[in-house]
Symmetry: D4
Subunit: 250 residues, 8 copies
Amino acid sequence: MNEIKAILEQVQEGSLSVNDALLALKKKPYEDIGFAKVDIHRKLRQGMAEVIYGASKTPEQIIKIIHTMQKNNQKTILITRLSLEAAMIIQKTCPMDYHADAKVGIVGSRPVADGLGKIVVATGGTSDIPVAEEAALSAEIMGNEVLRLYDVGVSGLHRLLSHLDELMNASVIIAIAGMEGALASVIGGLVDCPVIAVPTSVGYGASFGGVAALLSMLNSCASGVSVVNIDNGFGAGVLASRINHMEVKK
Amino acid sequence: MNEIKAILEQVQEGSLSVNDALLALKKKPYEDIGFAKVDIHRKLRQGMAEVIYGASKTPEQIIKIIHTMQKNNQKTILITRLSLEAAMIIQKTCPMDYHADAKVGIVGSRPVADGLGKIVVATGGTSDIPVAEEAALSAEIMGNEVLRLYDVGVSGLHRLLSHLDELMNASVIIAIAGMEGALASVIGGLVDCPVIAVPTSVGYGASFGGVAALLSMLNSCASGVSVVNIDNGFGAGVLASRINHMEVKK
Amino acid sequence: MNEIKAILEQVQEGSLSVNDALLALKKKPYEDIGFAKVDIHRKLRQGMAEVIYGASKTPEQIIKIIHTMQKNNQKTILITRLSLEAAMIIQKTCPMDYHADAKVGIVGSRPVADGLGKIVVATGGTSDIPVAEEAALSAEIMGNEVLRLYDVGVSGLHRLLSHLDELMNASVIIAIAGMEGALASVIGGLVDCPVIAVPTSVGYGASFGGVAALLSMLNSCASGVSVVNIDNGFGAGVLASRINHMEVKK
Amino acid sequence: MNEIKAILEQVQEGSLSVNDALLALKKKPYEDIGFAKVDIHRKLRQGMAEVIYGASKTPEQIIKIIHTMQKNNQKTILITRLSLEAAMIIQKTCPMDYHADAKVGIVGSRPVADGLGKIVVATGGTSDIPVAEEAALSAEIMGNEVLRLYDVGVSGLHRLLSHLDELMNASVIIAIAGMEGALASVIGGLVDCPVIAVPTSVGYGASFGGVAALLSMLNSCASGVSVVNIDNGFGAGVLASRINHMEVKK
Amino acid sequence: MNEIKAILEQVQEGSLSVNDALLALKKKPYEDIGFAKVDIHRKLRQGMAEVIYGASKTPEQIIKIIHTMQKNNQKTILITRLSLEAAMIIQKTCPMDYHADAKVGIVGSRPVADGLGKIVVATGGTSDIPVAEEAALSAEIMGNEVLRLYDVGVSGLHRLLSHLDELMNASVIIAIAGMEGALASVIGGLVDCPVIAVPTSVGYGASFGGVAALLSMLNSCASGVSVVNIDNGFGAGVLASRINHMEVKK
Amino acid sequence: MNEIKAILEQVQEGSLSVNDALLALKKKPYEDIGFAKVDIHRKLRQGMAEVIYGASKTPEQIIKIIHTMQKNNQKTILITRLSLEAAMIIQKTCPMDYHADAKVGIVGSRPVADGLGKIVVATGGTSDIPVAEEAALSAEIMGNEVLRLYDVGVSGLHRLLSHLDELMNASVIIAIAGMEGALASVIGGLVDCPVIAVPTSVGYGASFGGVAALLSMLNSCASGVSVVNIDNGFGAGVLASRINHMEVKK
Amino acid sequence: MNEIKAILEQVQEGSLSVNDALLALKKKPYEDIGFAKVDIHRKLRQGMAEVIYGASKTPEQIIKIIHTMQKNNQKTILITRLSLEAAMIIQKTCPMDYHADAKVGIVGSRPVADGLGKIVVATGGTSDIPVAEEAALSAEIMGNEVLRLYDVGVSGLHRLLSHLDELMNASVIIAIAGMEGALASVIGGLVDCPVIAVPTSVGYGASFGGVAALLSMLNSCASGVSVVNIDNGFGAGVLASRINHMEVKK
Amino acid sequence: MNEIKAILEQVQEGSLSVNDALLALKKKPYEDIGFAKVDIHRKLRQGMAEVIYGASKTPEQIIKIIHTMQKNNQKTILITRLSLEAAMIIQKTCPMDYHADAKVGIVGSRPVADGLGKIVVATGGTSDIPVAEEAALSAEIMGNEVLRLYDVGVSGLHRLLSHLDELMNASVIIAIAGMEGALASVIGGLVDCPVIAVPTSVGYGASFGGVAALLSMLNSCASGVSVVNIDNGFGAGVLASRINHMEVKK
């Protein structure tokens, strides 16, 4: 609202005409590059501006968006759901660190981890790792230290319990599981930090593409657990980062 | 098939005419009392004959079935899904031990426990107890020792783990839970005996009347877990009893 | 794990026999009062110990749990999903502050708000207020300042936008809506703090008891949004409190 | 009904025998070309006759239908759901303007826009553009001026609000969105013209192929919003055109 | 936007301070009466301001809202989903025309019908009449002439066809049906005006509370058909009124 | 179409004016009694005219419809889904044979059974009997001999097999079952007559109000099985009667 | 049961030992060819023995089954769900009439049509033709005259009504439609013969692979309509044939 | 718990320091080989350690796991859901018995059958055989004698009944069926041993990938039936083996 106030003050001072003020109030805080509106001010507004959802874009479009972002001084850009094929084309033009399992590309330097503590990313099985890596890399790129605890599902409880110290010391935990999704409830019952549950589409038959895990997690009898969309590692990573960067607000 | 053989031998001996044999082969091994076919031979055929599903029957019908069964020498009769109102009417005529939480009535003497070991009935919360009692009483009435472990859900894992000895010593475990139904997977991962999972309709919102727990249990990543219908404590009790009475078959 | 270490040291010192140590390791950190296991140590383990889920308990059971908790020095007890009838019976024995719309009872003194900032609880319509009050009271009872913004649904966007300052200053936002549940996405797109979305069962026809809002919220295109179960105001309040009390962890 | 009256008058005048009249009454207002009934009179009856649903037809069948339509003096023919491969074959025989993203082919001249005002076609994201183009081209081909507002989803509300003037001046708005489908509700709350909501199958996980957006749109708390099938851009375009061509009826 | 311009001009003229302008820009165009925000300017913004959704409000709340609206010069107020009991209480204070089948109350004078033509409200059966009356009364209260065609379902096609003239002369048709919902498709295939389909929860078994009719209507093979929520007669009436009041927009 | 021909011949003869003919062609073959259109000619058109769906009608409306039908010489009238309360009111005015379990009332004399053979109505359990009686009475009222085989579900196969003769001699079989609905498949595999499967809402938990039985029946691996709506005994009875009255058509 | 009687009489006569009788009673009325049990006596038992479900079998397996059937004097064999590739392999060995659209192969001579009347096979659109041809060919192969009425969907009601004579003269009607599936209800309301509804998976979006049409057909408000599985043309053809071959049974 | 006692005794004896004891208590009973935690002690804990879920692993990973297991003295290793391609690569390095229909590989020697009796694996059709073979091989590899009864579905009841002796002599029965899944109920009604029902994804249309069979089996009216996930042959085999190896537990 300060922006509006500034505009109004300029009107009062006579340094801005009414019509120009009206225009300024409507001015788009993004750059239109034809096929997409690149959101320049988003970082200010949402704390992360450097993400490109790669799934439905051509390599050429992605390159163009990267360049527009870089022109606007973005140091680090994360590209999610990026196929190996697209990554190989982009890498010819832009230096990019590509993680094939997570389908994530990183352009530019990684930030220093400056969160309140560690984010633990735990998975039920090995098949959940791609989603977990999307979450972990997203969190790292936003300035978090991440501890990975993979394949610690509830069917072998001792594997999970042997990491009790790490779980109890975590700042935020991302619990990722397919099939019956019980991991989130069990972890939620052990710790007192926020737990972000990510159901995955891992499973067959009555897992219904992740619905069983999703419902299981939504019904968690443990407190402090919330849920994001099936396979949404990125969303979990972003949310965990925001929680891990909480500060005093007056 | 022995029965058929006996009939054929009588035909061969001339002690039974072809028409009578034909009739005998078709003879109903149940007694028709108008509104229902009381299945007298069921005990032989299925190992349990003494059960009346009370939900859709009037007290008068139930009394009539009890009398028919008693006439056929049933010593113990279990009546499930029996409302308090119906129970009070029946008790005027038939001495009956009624369990209001389980909605179960027991007529006659209880059998001696003669199974291979103990059946553990575990629940996630206190709201699951009615289903658990239906299971436990059904198992007891079929000659099993039952150990009840109630309110040991996964959101407080230490409550479950403090009973590890009992779980590991069980012959069969019935794991009963609503909401996210994770109890079955966690128990299934701890023990090596058969686990029968019973989803309950306990919960709200996205539990969808037990569907979340049902799907969770069907997708259990632990081996040795199978599932019965939502709130089907009786079915779990019967199956547990059969497993607890396994013997050598040649 | 420190507790285990202490026990082992006592064994080493000879001040505790092996058998007693074994017993101590298994000792239940809860008090068994027959129909439920009251979890005394839960506050330590999960940061909130003082909650009773009232839905499936009799007033007598609730009173007994309150007394057990008070004996263990709980100063504040929150009872959720408590019917007016049960509340009136309990109030005869225990002084209790009862909120009829939220179906929430509060026994004891309220804590001082000591969070990082304010928690905003926003609803789409007036019918969502009971869920919102459950969330708001739960958060307040755990030491948070709560700002209520009710009836600011997206069908009258100016109502929401007129509160932009409060939204942007929030530490955490709980967005509560039934019907199409768009509130969470719109708020999620405006702010950079964590947003906890609570779908409600408000609506009719194709809202399917909150499923439409639930799916809408899970698919939110805004970052930083996570979801709890339909009508789960309490869960949202607890999670918001944890996030609002984040601190540095090493 | 005038046609029936005319036939009856001819019977009365004796210029038509009873049998011929009976035949005439049953005469089909379409031309049967073997594999399909080309509906010649449909334009009169429904205001649009020139559309071929291309999805389940061979290029040869489409060409034959085009020729039959042209023989019956259709000036403009729209072919929807037409694959690039089929389009290339058809273009060898018939001059056709093909839009690859919308999978729409246009044969013949475009009509002059003669509606009451502009139809705005708005999308939540860039992935919704194919459906939007199907809607926009369908509307244009039926004589409407169309304004495209793409990628104005609710997660960046300022992008939508910066087009408030265009939205408020629209005659009809087609709101197209996948994922959480909130765009329709937000637009519906801002304007007072009819809003046609088109859910798209854009999304993953709990979007269930467009179901989340569909339910969200059906439950819109804004008035004046109605919904068509998932991805049905054509249907939205036709309906918008009809509304934009409303006239006084006595 | 003119309002913003006016404020800016006052700032420029010095007749309004910057702070007051900022305040004015945020000023709520609704009156806050405690339990609800009565939307005074909504009529201007959406073309209908006079509706109260009665379902979740007490008679006292409704009376208070009516009085606030009347103070703001609303001449006609429509109250939907109003129970007979609530209506009888309200009628003691406010003169109100109550329609028990539609659960609709009308306070004040009815407007003159000034639409482009007639709105036809057609139902498949007699059980759909409550929803139809909600639609018809809503349309009438917004200045439309309504023609009711009830019980003209497709299982007796002659009943529908005998009203072909009325259907073909309609400006807009609201097609209301439960069970298989085929009425919308059949009408949609006969006419060239917009058809608004309203699925109803009439039916049993596999009608799933209106889902069968809803899906049927969404999949209509006829053009020009759009759908609103199950049982949403009011929404259909409002939309029909908007379409029936279309005018030239430049 | 003969009716149309007759009208045309009268026009040709001059005994009917064009306008009157037009009117006659549109004349409704039903009598409008205000709240419903009583379909007088339906018997001719569909072979059964004498049915009133009682569920959503008041006793007064039903009495009025009965009188209208009787005035039009209906000898037998069947009223389905008629509550005991409504039946008792109607019986004061009209002599009626009321069947409380089936909720069916019969006014007038029953027709002679004149079908090709017997219709067998079989149920899986005793709880399915109300639906079965609706089917059986509907079939009887339309001139069929009905054989009832109740409580012959597949969990006690011998009960079903002991009726093999009756099943194999049936003209049509109506197989009625809830829960897992296997009865239809088993009967379908034993006989070569048409089998009409009626799923019932009997069951609990994952029976989902008859959905489990419905899906089971739709997926029957036996030939000659078709399905009607859940609990639709009447529909099955009507269809069975039509099949049992098949005759040579040229 | 006559077979059993014969066996018993032989035992009585001494021409069959008890053991041999027991064996005979259990003798399988099918020939086991390793990978499948070819059901030789099925024709007697079910009135159609000559069908091979081709979907999950190799060409070699199909050829082997054909030969086994031919050895057992089957004159006509129908193979359903047979891919073009498999058909071409089979045709090298067995002369076979293959219908590519219906994926149906016919080996041997076609029977004479000896039913009560004509079976009409009607479809809503051209995309439903493959399912319709499966139904039509299945019915023809079982001795029925079939009349095909394709592309007569309800969105162009005149196309359907122009065939009213054929519909009214039909012995049985198979109504096949995808999308909204209204065809079955409309036809059911026009005729008094049995109508078999076949939902097809034709459609997109909210058709959910045929579910919309299935639900629509199950909820048909017309009498005499029953439903088979989605895309089950064969099942409809078999059932129609059985109904068209009804005869007097005593 | 004995392990814990042993550790404590060593601490008491001074042979183990407190810190080492703490470490030992946390020591992982599995070997971490980078991409997966190979669970060495699982055999002890769950009675089967030798299974690799092949679906989501590369041949190289599987080979590495096999070698780790063999190093730890596993004699027999079962690999499920193993594609033909992966099997061929693995066979180059490890001798392996591969079953292509079941997608099962067996490394090492098979154990002697030492169960209580025979496990019968029955299927409804030939398409269910792959799931059945997964179940049968899993059971055999765990020391069970298995009797296969394939293609005995309920649509030809005589095929099932001809195996009544084998069914009645079984120790455990695994009933595997797709489509309507009635096999489990019919078998459950015939025998008194535990029946494990496995729904398969065999079917089309309203079978919904196995959901129809799953629901049918969950709703089985026969006692002693429990259900595992769709297509989960392995899980059924493991559970059957556990039941077939029950022994006295004190």
